[in-house]
Amino acid sequence: MYNRGYTVILLLLLFALPFTASGSSFLQDTTKVKRGSLDSVVVKAGVLGRPTNRAFAVGTKIQSASVQALESMKSNTLSDYIREQSSIYIKEYGKGMRSYISIRGTSSSHTSVAWNGMSLAVPTLGQTDLSHIPLYFFDKLDIHTGGSSLLYGDGSIGGSLQLSTNPKWIKGVTGDVTLLGGGFATLFTGATVRYSNGSLESRSGVFRSSAENNYSFLNNTKPGTPKEYLNNSAYSNYGALQEVFKKLKDSSLISFNIMYLNFFREIQPSVSLNDRPESYASIADRNLRSSLAYNSPAKGWFSYSGSVAFSNDYEKYKDDIIAASRVKVVAEGQLLNDDLLIKAGVSGEFTSPSVVSYRGAADEQRYYAFAMARVKPVRVVTLSLGVRAGKVTGSDVPLMPSAGFNLSLINRGSHYLFLRGSISRNSKVPSLNDRYWGGVHSYLKSEKSLNREVGADYQMSLGLLTVTSFVTLYRSDVDNWIRWLPAGQVWRPQNIPEVDSKGVEGGATAWVKLAETSLNLTVNYSYTDIKMVKGLWLEDPSTGRQLAYQPKHSLRATFKAKHKHNELFTSISYTGERTTLDIFDILPWYTIADVGINRDFAIGGNKLSAAISLKNITNVRYQNVKFYAMPGRSWQITLRYNF
């Protein structure tokens, strides 16, 4: 029934849109939508002088983390944020342990994660562990769901997470000190100092986080499911960030930033190995990211930018060391007049891995070129079109075109309704591990996808009430999905011929402002239907079934009530049933609820925020990945002093 309904809606929208667009007289740019303080906002145009590809994301959905939401979770990781604030599924192996995103059912390597345009993925693995990304350092987060290789390059088949840091240009010394203490000996300490004289700004930040993670769980591999306490699950991480921004006389901007992250963590054992010390292991990671960028003056119709970035990743697990250095050079230019925005750029990337297990010379060069345009042929319509092409050592790179539209259907007083749609071809080159781990796997093809989506955004204001909502229907056909399979005594990567994903994403935010009181309710829901359509062998029983570890239903709801300087907040997350690789092995759904209060104090013109929260208040015993215990009820106290 779903399939039929979905298809009908999709067809109606696709057929109706050309007529609606050409005949519409409603003229409204999505950038002019009232934004309020909502977590979910529509696309905002790029800022001239610092060309951002986000402005060309026409027809797709970008959810920007609000300043408040980011501030309240500064002492957490990107994994925590995605899990608590969006309906995107996170596959995690314990608190503070490996954590991988799955947007629209795709794998974590299908989501690009970048900071100011620099990939945060480890080039050898080709994916990002979101538990390794401390939110503390970042000022902005855009969650782009859907294929976006044109905008963000290789790997953006499922979506993209774009983190950024920016100068504030507040003269003098500003900053914050953040402290967190919580259950299972969780500690976080962070400090940031900014100095600006109006033309020069420096930002220095450090953090340290640790936890014992000795929480209790029910061992579902022992008779009677006894209660046990987790062993070997501690972590101790620290990092530092330094940024310098310099405005030149012509208002051009030079920026330099460097971030160093150091992680040490014991690898949480599965519940069946919790009492087997001989199996305990740990892993150490060091990640360095650095870039120097120039942005031309933000004046006139033409601007350009250039950057050079260096990164180094090092991981030690037992006797294995996986390391890689990468240099990336980017040059981009942007043209703008009233209704037309054009951007083009080229990039070169050079990666040199140092991995004992690699067979063959694995040095890699990547070159990409892209061009894209955003145009408003009539006031109610915004169109985008672009293409990215690339060349990568030893791999074919499919062309990555993309087209999208935004259509303003209603712009009447306090009601706004927009339709949007996009179609794109996206791709991901096999990671270095895919190509060289234990052999030269030159037979591997690049993964590629065809993404189509349509959606609608609606906003209304009725007196004190503001409501925004959105719905997106999508379909994505992924060809040559890479998985590792056994081949005799070893495992080798193979291309799965075709995996199809389709589904619905929806969300709504209701916001009431009453004098000094405000109420905010946000709900996000995802329905994900992802199946292998063509497998490697005809009889594969999983063909036509939901992929492993992909819940069909995922829902997040948050409610905040604020009165003057006091705030009560609660969140509920529901993760639906999913299977392991065994189609008969069904993991139960679970719902986690958190509550907390926050109060702001004024201290000599500065602000002190204190928050107390209870996590998993109903003490649900659950496993996200089978046999990996997740924490029960716990508490958390956060103090944040802004000066």
Binding site: P223, G224, L273, A487, L536, P541, S542, L581, I583, D585
Partner: protein, 354 residues
């Protein structure tokens, strides 16, 4: 079936004549099969299914259904004792789960003492013998690990208490008890241990001339001869009395664990061929006539990971596997014709008939 019972009878006589009076009893057959789905090592995703040969139906994940908990490991191999307790050799974590074959309920606490990457189990009289790789290894020039301190652990069947460990060589795999001798497949060949008085003294290391590589698994035929799989070559027939190799037969054997089975008349092997892109392209089940040494390919597929032969029906069972998905079990008649199929768990590898 008659031939297999003959083999069992031979074993009874042989063991009965041994000095320590161990008795091997045959397993009464209910016409059911415990299907071992090995699972993926890092995901602890082993499961067991029970296949009913008469009704041609399968029940999956019976351990979870019966006990309310998961095995939480991989299952490498297993054996059914005359009391119809199945001993399932698990890795990661290393343990031996003991279940009632009929109900799949845990019959006792899992055995854990003295295990280090256990591989195979054999039961004789009041003793349990378990081959172990141990955790020590050396890395070969080609990058593979070799476990050069492999041992056999001996347990009391009644108390499950560890009695002793005996070093046997490198990469210990299959076990076979013939009379008072324990045959152990190791990289160096076939090690023979004297079971008398729990001494487990090594009495021979058997290796056929011109056969390279290690021994992997062992079975006996209706004549009481021992057959050892050497994946580099095929099969080697051993006289258990003289403890010498009698002959060798070239036949494809799986390189992973070289698992073989016998119905007395024939020894069955399986093998999968991979192409240059490491894709499985052809798998086969081969029958070796124990009298003539003739080889006959009796069934083909894409990727096999184990083989079994029913002592009740004579049917051969194998499965198409992928490890990223469920296996499809194949029931093949003695004529090589497919008689049925059923979806099992991940990495279906062994079939324990009871």
């Amino acid at each position: 079936m008659r031939n297999l019972l003959w083999v069992v009878a031979f074993a009874i006589v042989a063991v009965s004549c041994s000095k320590n009076e161990v008795i091997l009893k045959p397993v009464d057959l209910d016409g059911k099969v415990i299907v071992i789905n090995q699972g993926n090592f890092t995901e602890h995703s082993a499961s067991i299914s029970i296949y009913d040969e008469q009704r041609n139906d399968i029940q999956n994940r019976v351990f979870e259904s019966a006990n309310g908990v998961s095995i939480g490991a991989t299952i490498i191999s297993g054996v059914v004792s005359p009391s119809k307790h199945a001993y399932l050799v698990c890795n990661n974590p290393d343990k031996i789960e003991i279940i009632d074959s009929r109900t799949a309920k845990q019959a006792s606490e899992p055995m854990t003492q003295g295990l280090a990457s256990p591989r195979a189990v054999a039961i004789s009289g009041n003793r349990i013998y378990v081959s172990n790789w141990d955790y020590s290894y050396v890395v070969t020039p080609s990058g593979f690990w070799e476990f050069n301190k492999s041992y056999v652990a001996v347990y009391d069947l009644s108390t499950k208490a560890l009695i002793k460990k005996v070093l046997v060589g490198t990469d210990a795999e299959g076990l076979l008890i013939v009379g008072s001798k324990l045959f152990v497949a190791v990289k160096e060949g076939v090690r023979v241990l004297d079971l008398t008085g729990d001494n487990l003294n090594s009495t021979a290391l058997i290796r056929a001339a011109g056969v390279t590589g290690g021994a992997k698994n062992l079975v006996s035929d209706k004549n009481g001869k021992v057959w050892a799989s050497f994946p580099d070559k095929g099969l080697v027939q051993i006289d258990p009395v003289t403890q010498t190799a009698v002959k060798s037969v070239e036949v494809p054997v799986d390189f992973m664990d070289g698992y073989i089975v016998s119905d007395g008349n024939k020894v069955y092997t399986y093998n999968t061929v991979f192409n240059a892109s490491y894709m499985p392209i052809e798998a086969g089940i081969y029958a070796v006539d124990v009298a003539t040494g003739g080889v006959n390919k009796i069934f083909s597929g894409t990727y096999f990971y184990g083989v079994g032969v029913s002592p009740k029906t004579g049917n051969i069972i194998t499965a198409e596997v992928s490890f990223t998905s469920n296996s499809v079990m194949k029931i093949v008649g003695t004529d090589g014709q497919l008689k049925g199929s059923a979806t099992a768990g991940i990495g279906t590898c062994r079939y324990l008939f009871f």
